[in-house]
Amino acid sequence: MEQSRTVIIARYAAAIFIIAIFVFPIFWFALTSIKPISAVFDKDGVIWFDFVPTFENYWVTLFGEASIDVNQNTRSDFGTSGGDSYDGRGSILSSIIVATGSTFLSTLVGLFAAYGLSRMSFTGSQGVLNWILSQRFLPPIAIIVPLVFIFHDMGLRDTHLGLIIAHTLINIPIAVLLLKSFIDDIPKDIDQAAMIDGATSWQVFWKIILPMSKGGLAATAVLCFIFSWTEFLLSLFLTNSIRTVPVKITTFVTSTGSEWGYISALGTSAIVPGFIFILLVQSHLVRGLTMGAIKD
């Protein structure tokens, strides 16, 4: 159907309007992160662009410089007690370790399970798949206290490994679901031919399935990374000294007020890796998200 010129222009206008609404909160957050404190809190209204940009908030949260004294607007000597409390480097490192570890673990075990469920017919395979997927229905609050006890007994409390396992737990259902739909798409003839030539399932898995599901694997890995990177509740209760970025950022809200400069600087930085990753795999992601629902 040919669209008229008016329709096309209207379509562009509508799209730009919608995108502007959805991007605005992030834009505002990023803008706040380069505002001096006086421009964030203004009694007379909201300051849009009438300020001198500063990267002070990033120096403190990303590079660990001492915080600014709000009243004098100069660098103060907080000493070791308060000086590093807005330093986000440790939490960024923790988030990277946990998200990377859990992404690796969940895609690996998820891929094993997806292969088993996709290629081996056995009684109850649909039941096993449904059971794995139903784990995603769990409200984390229903498992958090027993999980704290178990982690304590196993020495996993407040460790990176513990959090990696916890995030793997929540990522497995989605990983299995996505990867199974990608493996289902690989024609069975290929691995059956290899099997007839004497290949074992293990060889088929490494030599055929793994290379052929690369795109799906990348999309799954990105989703697992983002889920782990953004996870809040388990990270909050399974750790004390280790703080992932989402948990760390909530500590910037104190009884005396919220440090909006540091919150917005660390928060804006936390969005960047996820966005880069999601752009890299977007085409696979859109296909993967249908999870076989449009196949018949």
Partner: protein, 305 residues
């Protein structure tokens, strides 16, 4: 030693039992299933077990009394208020996300220049950690320096003495809007995937028969996408029903209990009064509702994974 007989293929080297070889599903499924059993199922059963104990607040001793917490739950008005808040939250957010998601997907399903960039920008909210999203909107909702509040003041929609999140009548909807902002893009992605996979022929035939775009949408697009819509509703619905982060970060269930969802109430009991048995009861109740409703939904709409 060579094991084997005339009918089986001759194998070299050590002979493993069949269920330990790569030809059997067990080794493939074992790592995932083991993690889910130890760190998922066991804690749930543990929580369920806890619901059968009565806690004595004075002595902190727990005693076996299977019906205590459950009868308390049934009589607890705060639970039923939370059920109402949770249902309002789930349905309002779900409908908004579904309708907006579909409309935006239809809008962005276009191959013209620039729409690829629009689609990419649309995914931005998805990578923001919900705790950070909560902060972002706290900043914008703030009564004295929030950009959203100020815009609404200027437009005369709300008055200065009624900050959005501190007001009984606006708090819940303000939190729902945050959820809508974050998760509508997820719906857009799913709907776009569905739209892109639709066959072209029926639409061409309908156009020849003189059908309008709106007729084609209701008679062709919607029915053909029913499965994917059902799946999206299931995934989002379950997530919405157990919402925690936004409520925790933005209102902490307040003002009063205006935004107290079931999981938020369970969290309050866990961490403020440390009554683990009762908190577990609320959490297990939430889980049961989710499982029952999700299973009915799967049966009715024949959702396939």
């Amino acid at each position: 030693m060579l094991a084997g007989n005339a009918s089986a293929p001759v194998s070299k080297g050590l002979m493993l039992p069949r269920w330990l070889t790569s030809e059997h599903p067990l080794p493939w499924l074992f790592p995932s299933v083991a993690i889910l059993l130890v760190f998922g199922l066991y804690p749930v059963l543990y929580s369920l077990w806890l619901t059968f104990f009565k806690r004595n607040p004075a002595t902190r001793v727990e005693k076996f009394d299977p019906s205590w917490n459950w009868s308390k739950l049934v009589a607890d008005e705060r639970v039923w208020d939370a059920v109402q808040v949770t249902l309002t939250y789930t349905f309002t957010a779900l409908i908004l996300q579904l309708v907006l998601g579909m409309l935006i997907a239809l809008l962005l399903d276009c191959d013209r220049k620039g729409f690829g960039v629009f689609r990419a920008l649309m995914t931005l909210p998805l990578v923001v950690p919900p705790a950070v999203t909560g902060m972002m909107f706290l900043l914008m909702y703030d009564g004295s320096f929030g950009v959203i509040s100020h815009t609404l003041y200027d437009l005369g929609i709300i008055s200065k003495d009624a900050p959005l999140l501190a007001n009984h009548s606006t708090a819940l909807f303000s939190v729902i809007l945050v959820d809508v902002w974050q998760w509508t893009p997820f719906m857009v992605l799913i709907m776009l995937a569905g739209l892109r996979a639709l066959p072209r022929d029926p639409f061409e035939a309908a156009a020849i028969d003189g059908a309008t775009d709106i007729q084609a949408f209701f008679k062709l697009t919607l029915p053909m996408m029913s499965k994917i819509i059902a799946l999206a509703v299931l995934i989002r619905g379950v997530d919405l029903f157990r919402v925690f982060d936004y409520v925790k970060v933005m209102t902490d269930s307040g003002p009063g209990t205006a935004t107290e969802t079931l999981t938020a109430y369970a969290g309050t009991i866990y961490f403020k009064s440390a009554n683990f048995p009762y908190a577990s009861t609320i959490a297990i109740f939430t889980l049961l509702v989710v499982l029952i409703v999700a299973n009915i939904f799967i049966k009715i709409f024949k959702v396939r994974f």
